[in-house]
């Protein structure tokens, strides 16, 4: 979508997306994996178009990667000595990591998805800040701190995002 809100087709991903939990949250807690399985079982969709496009809350997903953002997002691996995930209202963590787990170097570096929901965007930002502060990972370098940096960015706070903003925040951090 360009700055004049013209949108153009780019591609279709024919699979479950990493960020599907955002949609699950916004649509009022539906389960997209369950929907996939029901479709495969030749069941008809029960959710209507009107229900599908309903926006019941605001949601954000933060990808926590085992990467060193200060070293050009170099992947890190090894022992996670301590892993404490945030919880509480509006917080979902999808992760297969546990304290004592060894992150292998063979695969992609996504170690957790933090999904925050709240009634509106401002409250989502507040809740995200709170949850990121609660999240503790002892071991490989990860992107928790970079997400905290993003949350401090004025443009991000105001929703002035585009595909160049991450690089902009990175460069600011280096100054």
């Amino acid at each position: 979508m360009d700055e004049n809100k013209n949108f153009y087709f780019m591609e279709v991903n024919t699979r479950l997306q990493v960020e599907h939990p955002v949609t699950e949250a916004v649509c009022g807690g539906i389960d997209l994996v369950k929907m996939q399985i029901e479709i495969a079982q030749n069941q008809a969709l029960t959710l209507t178009q009107a229900e599908a496009q309903k926006i019941t809350c605001h949601a954000m997903e933060f990808r926590i990667n085992a990467e060193d953002y200060e070293q050009n997002f170099l992947p890190n691996s090894g022992l996670v000595a301590y892993f404490h995930t945030p919880n509480g209202l509006g917080v979902r963590v999808d992760s297969a990591v546990y304290s004592g787990y060894e992150i292998p170097s063979f695969y992609d570096s996504l170690i957790a998805k933090l999904i925050i929901t709240a009634p509106n965007r401002n409250l989502t930002l507040k809740r995200a800040q709170r949850a990121l502060d609660e999240f503790k990972i002892k071991g490989p370098k990860n992107t928790l701190d970079f997400h905290k940096l993003i949350l401090q960015n004025k443009k991000f706070q105001e929703g002035q995002t585009n595909t160049a903003l991450v690089e902009e925040i990175l460069n600011e951090g280096k100054k």
């Binding site: 360009d2 960020e19 996939q36 399985i37 599908a52 585009n162 690089e167």
Partner: protein, 259 residues
């Protein structure tokens, strides 16, 4: 199409998404089979699934991308379906086809759909035919007069492999001077990745927003589309934060997006 009920599903993935899928299967009273590489023996999905089978060494090529081993694991455990998760074999049409040929259900679109939509140029053609707006670009694959075609669109220009996907075979030519080199690199990369060096051109949007629409279609022709996701917070095509609704999309635009 007769409705059926699965009793056991194999999850052909690892990490958080394997666990995510296993969780839903448990809630649906469907038995779960995890497959894993030697490296992932003590991973959470392996520990939490009803059954787990080792399918090869650590390297993905020999385990999570090993079609024969995964299908064999499904047969051994008598799983009725395979969920591929994301990444690995999830958008591999050959895998979906072989799974089906083995008498096992692939949870996802048909291999015909995966194959068509997985090829960028073909997907673009489909979008044009369906009346979906596409970025100004070449009319299909550019065989000759490449520079002339490029100039018609203008610079900066995006050169894309026709069979491309996952960011491979894509090159930006910022100016006319950089065009020849970018074209050669894109073609060389496409040749290696897809054994085909066909390319097409698209105008490069400056700092666009990445907006996506999730949809679901059943076997009876019903399709539903969900509110958009804004994935603009990304770096080198790797997403960091996704949110919904987008701060940029107005209700009117949303109507058009979903339509």
């Amino acid at each position: 199409m007769k409705e059926k009920k699965y009793t056991k599903i194999l999850v052909a993935n690892r990490g958080e998404i394997a666990l995510r899928i296993i969780r839903t299967l448990k809630e649906m009273d469907i038995k779960t089979v995890a497959v894993y590489s030697e490296e992932d023996k003590t991973s959470a999905p392996v520990l939490l699934a009803d059954e787990a089978l080792c399918i090869g060494p650590a390297a993905s090529k020999e385990s999570y991308l090993n079609i024969d081993a995964i299908i064999a694991a499904a047969k051994i455990t008598k799983a009725e379906a395979i969920h591929p998760g994301y990444g690995f074999l999830s958008e591999n049409a050959a895998f979906a086809k072989e799974v089906k040929a083995a008498g096992i259900d692939f949870i996802g679109p048909s291999y015909e759909a995966i194959s068509k939509l997985g090829q960028k140029a073909a997907a673009r053609e489909l979008a044009i035919k369906a009346g979906v707006p596409v970025i100004k670009g070449s009319e299909g694959i550019v065989k000759e007069n490449a520079l002339l075609e490029a100039k018609k669109i203008g610079f900066p220009l995006m050169i894309k492999a026709a069979l491309g996907g996952g960011g491979r075979g894509m090159r930006v030519a910022q100016t006319e001077d950089a065009f020849e080199t970018a074209l050669e690199t894109a073609k060389a990369e496409a040749k290696i990745a897809f054994n085909n060096d066909d390319v097409y051109f698209e105008q490069l949007l400056i700092n666009p927003r990445h907006i996506e629409v999730q949809f679901a279609a059943d076997n009876f022709g019903t399709v539903i589309a969900f509110a958009e996701r804004d994935c603009s917070m990304q770096r080198k095509n790797q997403k960091l934060i996704e949110e919904s609704p987008s701060t940029f999309v107005t209700p009117e635009i949303r109507k058009k997006l979903i339509a």
